[in-house]
């Protein structure tokens, strides 16, 4: 099979004995956290099943999950360290390394691909001076290209640090979001109105959200990769 240049990715083994990032004395749950964990353990017949919730809690608390935090979570549920590592490494939303203060997950999956997702990604790459997958020197922003976020109707779109969704993105809108984030202002939750609601109800149906948007005609993509 000459001529086939199938390149194997070089798999870098993680450091087997990394330096501890979070000191032992900080690896404790508050009483409120302990209470939550007890409730979660009761939700499943086997306490181990609560590991995903405990890892989420730990990530909120420590920002990311270095090995000692994963071990701490495992110990909390009396489970093998290896199993907890297995879970933490299987799911992409658990950060195994320290990320920027804000993680910008730009969707480039197929709808977003053809409606400007890569244009938004490249604009951010230029603006922040980093490539997708990297973090700015000041530790403010990590940029990622991600798979479909389940919001294709308001493409192109992105999610900020596993949290809020930003819809119908344009370069101007992205600039404003970045300016805001630099001042610590995270965009608020936005409800996207159903087109049939616009026709039948004159707009959004939720009175408890301040910010709404509509699904918009999607832009033309300059780049599709």
């Amino acid at each position: 099979m000459s001529g086939f240049d199938i390149k194997r990715p070089i798999v870098e083994l993680p450091d087997q004995d990394p330096e501890q990032q979070i000191p032992d004395e900080e690896l404790v749950w508050t009483d409120a956290e302990k209470k939550k964990i007890e409730i979660w353990k009761d939700q499943y017949p086997e306490p181990e099943a609560a590991i995903m919730k405990v890892l989420w809690l730990a990530q909120e608390k420590y920002d990311y999950l270095p090995p000692e935090v994963i071990r701490f979570c495992a110990d909390t549920l009396d489970m093998d360290h290896a199993r907890a590592y297995g879970v933490a490494t299987f799911y992409t939303q658990y950060y195994k390394e320290e990320e920027g203060t804000f993680v910008l997950d730009v969707c480039t999956c197929f709808t977003c691909q053809f409606t400007g997702g890569y244009d938004i990604l490249h604009h951010l790459e230029e603006k922040l001076g980093i490539h997708a997958g990297e973090t700015t020197d000041d530790g403010m922003f990590t940029l990622q290209s991600v798979e479909c976020l389940g919001c294709c109707g308001s493409a192109p779109m992105m999610q900020i640090t596993n949290g809020v969704y930003c819809h119908n993105l344009t370069t101007e809108k992205v600039d404003a979001i970045i300016d805001g984030l630099e001042n610590g202002e995270v965009p608020e939750f936005t409800s996207v109105t159903l087109p049939q609601d616009e026709d039948e109800m004159g707009g959004n149906r939720r009175s408890d959200v301040a910010k709404t948007e509509t699904y918009q005609t999607q832009p033309r993509a300059e780049h599709t990769e």
Binding site: K7, M79, Y91, Q93, C109, C148, V164, D197, R205
Partner: protein, 454 residues
């Protein structure tokens, strides 16, 4: 149902005057109080109060309604429920699949945002029908904000005695637990979802045993999609006949179409099944953007084979019609593409998705998805050769039906059908051969698949 306004071939009847039932136009319907004011949880109350309604009757009604799963496979819901064994001393589980990660799909999120109680009521009715002890709602981790909103509503449900011990004073008890995923497409596959719920890596399981026999923690378990469960209260409220007579005969009911891409008005729309694709694009979504030509449709998420515009003519959105046209209903997350779309680039992105999301248990899938991506990328970059197209078909043959779960098939289908249906575009990108041959014979005698369809 006779079409009055719609074009004759539409199976959706008088869809222009269709009244929405999954997402009826009621302000703040997502609030428990508002939902109850409008008769919400009335079906549950009736079922629990009426000593003549046995759990099996709910299953029978669902069977008669013809409801088919909205999560992708389109399996009969009533039939699935009847696979649950007779209650024994083991606990019984329901898993509500709210993982919604199939590219192009965004309807479950809208349902969970605007009418979560319809889903919760459906869960409770399904729970009653199958004597379920606990339902886990597995929501993808990205939907963090919506999980918070649903948690608030679920708390209200517990406070109102609608979930938990002795629901509404009856002897039926059931818990509902929200479970937040953490970013893995494969966890939408039902057995992977079960593994993930058990606090493990989301590796799909071999079947058999099927989840109804051995599901969560080895106990009987049923898995249903959000929208499927949300249909259940409607079946009881309006009657199985109403449901069966709405939309396409073989695939009836209301359905949420999530339409994205190059149309003037994308979004989630509720209509009966069996809508003409042309009606959805032209009338519902206001036509193609910038007056461009419609070129291709991905009818139900990235796993469903794309259709050329000519294949969509007269085709309606239901499994039978789509199967005839050469695709599948999937999740009804429709991606509409216009004449400027480069289908090689499209396939490159889709293969990248599958390469990224393969769980890696099965060699044909783990390696195959990587090969697919690398070969399609090579073609897209102008470095491919004609024989690469055959190599891709060969790879698809080696992946389909040879793995633990259907993911590998889902990864192979778009490759096979995009090449078959848009072959000129692929040929235009490969390096010119020294021996020019026509497309019909280039595949050679030992080709594994015909060069073009039919």
């Amino acid at each position: 149902m006779e079409a009055t306004n719609g074009t004759p071939q539409s199976k959706a009847g008088d869809w222009r005057s269709y009244d929405r039932v999954l997402l009826p136009p009621i302000e703040d319907l997502h609030q428990l109080e508002v939902y109850r004011e409008h008769g919400g949880y009335g079906q549950l109350r009736d079922v629990l109060d009426d000593p003549d309604i046995a759990p099996g009757d709910v299953t029978t009604a669902v069977k008669e309604s013809g409801l088919r799963g909205r999560g992708g496979a389109g399996f009969s819901t009533g039939m699935k429920w009847s696979f649950m064994p007779e209650p024994d001393d083991r606990p019984r589980y329901l898993a509500c699949n709210a993982d919604e990660s199939e590219p192009g799909t965004f309807k479950d999120r809208q349902l969970m945002e605007y009418n979560p109680h319809l889903m919760f009521e459906g869960i409770l009715l399904a729970g009653y029908a199958m004597s379920i002890d606990v339902c886990y709602v597995y929501v993808r981790g990205e939907y963090a904000d919506w999980i918070v909103h649903m948690e608030e509503q679920l708390e209200k449900l517990y406070d109102a005695g609608l979930v938990g011990e002795n629901i509404l004073g009856s002897d039926f008890s059931m818990e509902i637990v929200l479970h937040k995923g953490a970013g893995a497409y494969i966890c939408g596959e039902e057995t992977s979802l079960l593994e993930s719920l058990e606090g493990k890596r989301g590796y799909p399981r071999y079947k058999p045993p099927f989840p109804a026999q051995k599901g969560l923690w080895g106990c009987p378990t049923t898995i249903n999609n959000v929208e499927t469960l949300a249909c259940v209260p409607l079946v009881l409220e309006k009657g199985p006949e109403w449901f069966a007579n709405t939309g396409a005969e073989q695939h009836p009911g209301p359905v949420l179409y999530g339409i994205s891409g190059h149309v003037n008005r994308p979004g989630v729309y509720e209509y009966p099944t069996g809508m003409l694709i042309s009606d959805l694009i032209e009338e519902v979504c206001g036509g193609m953007r910038d007056g461009k030509e419609f070129k291709a449709l991905v009818p139900g998420g990235s796993s469903t084979p794309p259709l050329r515009a000519d294949q969509c003519e007269g085709t309606t959105m239901d499994s039978e019609s789509l199967r005839e046209a050469g695709s599948m209903m999937g999740t009804a997350g429709m991606l509409v593409l216009d004449e400027d779309t480069d289908m090689v680039s499209y396939l490159r992105r889709v293969t990248h998705f599958y390469q990224h999301e393969s769980c890696g248990q099965c060699t044909p899938c783990r390696e195959g998805t990587g090969w697919l991506e690398r070969i399609v990328t090579r073609i897209d970059e102008g470095e491919g050769q004609m024989r690469d197209l055959d190599l891709l078909f060969d790879l698809c043959d080696q992946m389909e039906g040879r793995t633990i779960c259907a993911f590998a098939d889902a990864a192979a289908w778009p490759v096979r059908y995009t090449i078959q249906r848009f072959r000129e575009e692929f040929e235009a990108k490969v390096k010119p051969s020294i021996h020019p041959v026509s497309a019909d014979v280039s595949s050679g005698a030992d080709a594994t698949a015909p060069a073009t369809e039919g």
